[in-house]
Amino acid sequence: MSVMVKNSVLFGLVGGLIVITGFMQSWNTALLILNMGLISAIMAIGVNLQWGFAGLFNVGVMGFVALGGLAVVLISVDPVGEAWAAGGTRVLLGLLLGAATVVAAALVNTRMPAGRARTLALLVILVGGFFFYRAVFDPGVDAVESVNPAGTGFLGGLGLPVLLAWPAGGLLAAGAAWLIGKTALGLRSDYLAIATLGIAEIIIAVMKNEDWLARGVKNVVGLPRPVPYEIDLQNDPGFVETAAGLGIDPVTASTLYVKLGYSVLFLLVLLVILWMAQMALKSPWGRMMRAIRDNEVAAEAMGKDVTRRHLQVFVLGSAVCGIAGAMMTTLDGQLTPGTYQPLRFTFLIWVMVIVGGSGNNLGAVLGGFLIWLLWVQVEPIGLFLMQVITSGLAEDSALRAHLIESAAHMRLFTMGIVLLLVLRFSPKGLIPER
């Protein structure tokens, strides 16, 4: 069986599963899975760029995804004029001061000769800068957060069209990745993994606690969307007529229409990113990346700048994750920092890449769809299984209640089993690297 046929069969199979979901459960569920599958596929491409192409062990995917989500708020929400007047400039000034302190410290560290004088200068700059920064920054934050805390209490965004937030999410994630890469990429694989894990937690902590930025755990809801609202569609006589002509009731038709709109947008983004990733893989650059991955020492001996290439691919991969994160927040219509969990947003993406086939973009896409489908469907299947298994027990048995209640946790278990089975019996994944 040629590679082409095998891949088509695999994709066809996943597509078929989604269609079956449409018939068995509802088309809304199927489209929801499709949309999140498209987003997951993009995230998987991002991780595949880093791990599959370059062998970088980044377990901070969650952080970049969350930054993409933050970008949606920063770009698309209307600015809160009152908050800006109360303390906006002060907050910005404080941030600039903080950044200036770090830059000054970095400059001193590189420009001054090592010795006691440098250590002293560094200490003075860092400690003095920190207190100065807090003195400017804190009152500004208090002022901003006290502006109508129940409704806003944050600076708001730029009020631009939400689609702009997607590339902006990529840029924000890329910027963060550049900063992180500069400091952490020199570390060995295990250390890099822990470092990225920590950075992701820090990004989430910042988003949860800095209320002036995006309301923290109070969440920003009702984000603008690139597709029409269901209620508007239902009030549009033309739409209702078309729906009636197709034999669907207008409410269902409107929800399907909105979801399909997202699907088309996401599919476009996925195709563009996939095409770019494929081109990159085939180009001399891609061959160089794989050469570095397979043997760093040899590549360095051939004159390749390993550190810079690593930084480059780390930034690119993170940017892709950021774009996917922005798309996801747009789809949700809200930014909820409390829901970002490493198991779901970092390790699950890793399962997608490994199962799909690391080093192969198509594999990553397939893994994204397949694993997302499993992640969603394991819960009802687990519940069904538990009901079958426990059907022999009495209705009011505590064990039965516990088992049925716990069925929801089957999905983590299943993901682990899938990952281990693939690693054991097909370590290159479903669509291996060529």
């Binding site: 062998g55 062990f57 920190f130 400091t183 952490a184 570390l187 060995r188 694989s189 295990d190 250390y191 993994a193 822990i194 470092a195 894990l197 920590g198 950075i199 937690e201 820090i202 902590a205 949860k208 606690n209 969990q341 490493p342 198991l343 390790f347 890793w350 399962v351 490994i354 209640e405 716990s406 946790h409 089957m410 999905r411 983590l412 278990f413 299943t414 993901m415 682990g416 089993i417 990952l419 281990l420 690693l423 054991r424 370590p427």
Partner: protein
Amino acid sequence: MDFLNAIVALSNFVLIPAIAYGSQLALGALGVTLIYGILRFSNFAHGDTMAFGTMATILVTWLFQSMGISFGPLPTALLALPFGILGCMALVLITDRAVYRFYRQQKAKPVILVIVSMGVMFILNGIVRFIIGPDEQRFADGERFIISARTFKEMTGLREGLAIKASQGLTVIVAVIAVVLLFWFLNRTRTGKSMRAYSDNEDLALLSGINPERVVIYTWLIVAALATIAGTLYGLDKSFKPFVYFQLLLPIFAAAIVGGLGSPVGAIAGGFVIAFSEVTITYAWKKVLGYLMPESLEPSGLVQLLSTDYKFAVSFVILLIVLLFRPTGLFRGKSV
């Protein structure tokens, strides 16, 4: 008097909690470091191994409590601990046999083993949530305080109280016993010596007739014991919640790396470094400074450098600083 008050306040809010937390981290980091030294990979499933061991202990504790068995003033969990350890040992031996051994025989790259441990992490996470649920469980019983703030105030007449929770005292005592036993085992017994030899130089150890599988099994057994003890102590001190244990992975790894991966002494030192910096940087120093400084200079704010939600940031920054200036950690760890 103010000086004494300052010291008491400092001990109450910073020193004692940090010592207890540091001991828990140190025990966790010892497990990570042993796996790294002997099996040569970073075990991402360690937090969940701790959660599993603690869960086993909690279940036995509940059984004892329902049978009316108690341990006097000490928490019943201490009686249940050996059973929890046994449960955890069975679990790690099964995972090793079913999962890790295959890759060891293949001589897989360490990073593959790390990904494998990610799979194990998912499974353990699922099992723990499946059995005990994702919610918070409190299982501490017995005396709550060794000395309560009020008794201390009455005893000394100071304005500040010093409270030592029973769980904190217990943590330190159990941790000291565990560490002494561990070092005795590693340094004095034949098996312990063979473990260290295997960790230092695998080829030489194999040449001198050390059975690698035996070394690996002993390592897993010790790691299971350490993880269960660390997890149970943490749960007694705070509370048990599967997700929190998963998150403990970060400070534990930070401790192990700061100390130098593969070095047991380093793991202990790293645990305390991380714990003390986390607690001191997120503590509001207003009270202590208020006692120490003349009244005119008394700080108006809380003098809290970072809010407690940023404690991850602290472990992470320490990690970065140590790695930048001493890439193998404080105690010269190894690198695979």
